[in-house]
Subunit: 268 residues, 3 copies
Amino acid sequence: MKPPFVPSGVITLTTDFGHKGPFVATMKGMMLRQFAAAKIIDLTHEIVVHWPAEAAFWLKHAYRFFPEGTVHVAVVDPGVGTERDIIAGLYRGHAFIAPDNGQLAPILGSSSAEAVHRVDLEGLAAFGIHNPSATFHGRDIIAPLAAQLASGARSVRDLGPATREIVPSWVDEPVATASRLSGVVITVDNFGNLFTNIDRPLLRRFKNPVIHAGGHDIPLRRTYADVEPGTYLALLNSFDVLEIARAEQSAARGLGLSRGAPVVVTEG
Amino acid sequence: MKPPFVPSGVITLTTDFGHKGPFVATMKGMMLRQFAAAKIIDLTHEIVVHWPAEAAFWLKHAYRFFPEGTVHVAVVDPGVGTERDIIAGLYRGHAFIAPDNGQLAPILGSSSAEAVHRVDLEGLAAFGIHNPSATFHGRDIIAPLAAQLASGARSVRDLGPATREIVPSWVDEPVATASRLSGVVITVDNFGNLFTNIDRPLLRRFKNPVIHAGGHDIPLRRTYADVEPGTYLALLNSFDVLEIARAEQSAARGLGLSRGAPVVVTEG
Amino acid sequence: MKPPFVPSGVITLTTDFGHKGPFVATMKGMMLRQFAAAKIIDLTHEIVVHWPAEAAFWLKHAYRFFPEGTVHVAVVDPGVGTERDIIAGLYRGHAFIAPDNGQLAPILGSSSAEAVHRVDLEGLAAFGIHNPSATFHGRDIIAPLAAQLASGARSVRDLGPATREIVPSWVDEPVATASRLSGVVITVDNFGNLFTNIDRPLLRRFKNPVIHAGGHDIPLRRTYADVEPGTYLALLNSFDVLEIARAEQSAARGLGLSRGAPVVVTEG
């Protein structure tokens, strides 16, 4: 039987730290101190501050583009220094570690998760972690543990007891009735395209879906070039999620929409 | 005879994706899946959105600071999903791959280009590429091909038929008469310095060039410290292009100039 | 006796270049040309433009989170092209190289510095450096030297004569009297937390310190979650410096404070 996680040496990092100061860098330094051959890739550090739901969304949709055996680290951690837990788990050949605040809910809360463990925060000394700060667990606890997972020195099962009760996502799943699907905008990219929490399987119920957002009725197309410049369109994008765009322009600016805006789909 | 391209394992990435979301990261993930030892360097991800001319400018002037055998990837791709081609080629010991929209014109359109090939988009399965998305060819097509070039698994000649007809640059070359040279500002750096499309060879015709921009007549100096703080100066900078600066301040703000602004040189 | 510097192959980069253009990237390219196995980590490129004091602050507080044997490169260089020197030195098993403008003062100006050398700018040819530009010494001089230090090809002692007279920091040390400590805000992070130049040892003189900033009297706590959302607090943070925060909000915005703002500590 294939083991569920064979480390590739790759680690991805997702945070809301931005690019000022050495916050991300010192996490990488701590990883390299434990595992000099780590290949560390920045997923993004521009998650909306203190909003784990965006990290959850991107991890769920982006993990599969990395080599099997990658360790994905997420640190959007408004509760640092409180009693919140840190969890780690396996899903489809990848490992994940993050504060237990909904960031990993779409992945480790799924029935496909192969293991979910609660890091033993009382027993960190056994992992070589001494005197972590009260305000930067990402650097002092999560980074060294991620490095140990990525090097194969430890497995997620070594980190603490198994669990299935993790904190749910901060964003509800879309609500579906026979004729109508209601979701929300999760994030906006550099081009002003709006990414929703509605994915390909959810859209299958419609023959000719029409997307309602910002007071516009928007047709589903294949790609940006299928409509005239300036025209709104929706598409199932390269991450298999429903995206609302405006050809050669910013849909976010044009529609005045951003994170949390409602998006409804009906039969056309 | 020295072969024209001996891979160093280094890949550079130039995009207009910014730093929000996992767009750049998933390109890197796809590269590591094909070539685990790839050394991936971000050239910049802050190209002006949908403006291939800036990517073209930076690739032309920056490639030579990387090891020979580097693969340079550029993805400013407003036409993704349309009939536009992807091209790859060799130039002075480096490889380049990008959508055929002018990004590679200054390099692969040059008579020094050692090879220019059009990627066979109908035959991607032969490269192990199946079901690319319609909206992210950078990740689904260009990233794996770049990894194959960087690992030496494939050469640019393997990717498709040779071509010499590529899309020209979006910005005209400077216009030169006996006494006058007219160019434009291509980009502005973090300090407010203005980078023009006028380079060292073009300036050789002048004994004592005076630069006219934003209503000012600006002298050519060697470095910022050659003038008093607050004074405008021009210089042939570290990329061998004409730069307009203001000592210890922002020339862009002071002159009110940005991308596309005209710059004229005359004899002083 | 343990040698003072055993290279780990890791290099960190701190600049005020931002993320536009290939400025950081070409420094990395130059490093890889000299030392293909270099592991280059971006510390931050968002130092306030032309303000070496912030780079100095972060280097001093962040270096220890990297592997021993790391080379730390800082290029905040408003004096490029002038007569200013470049210095390199060793401190607690790490190497540092930067323009001599105060960036390395807190580290190499300390009595714990194991070596401080002035780069022989007249003898660069001996290091394989020919015709450096007048405007980008970070790429043309510092990057190749850092790579040579990181590969072990050269030691800081090889770079030029020993020195102890380096340019001091641009920011004064906090002023301490029996009952009062006066410092300043050095930088603000992505969450709006204010980082001061007051560190843990300086605070030891107080039993119950009260922090005065922006017209508020702020208590010292252990972590953000020790107060109600919206409440100001101060803490000795994960870099062992006094930080002023506002639970779940931005202290910088709330107090209207930024770089240079005075911070006073008294007994409560």
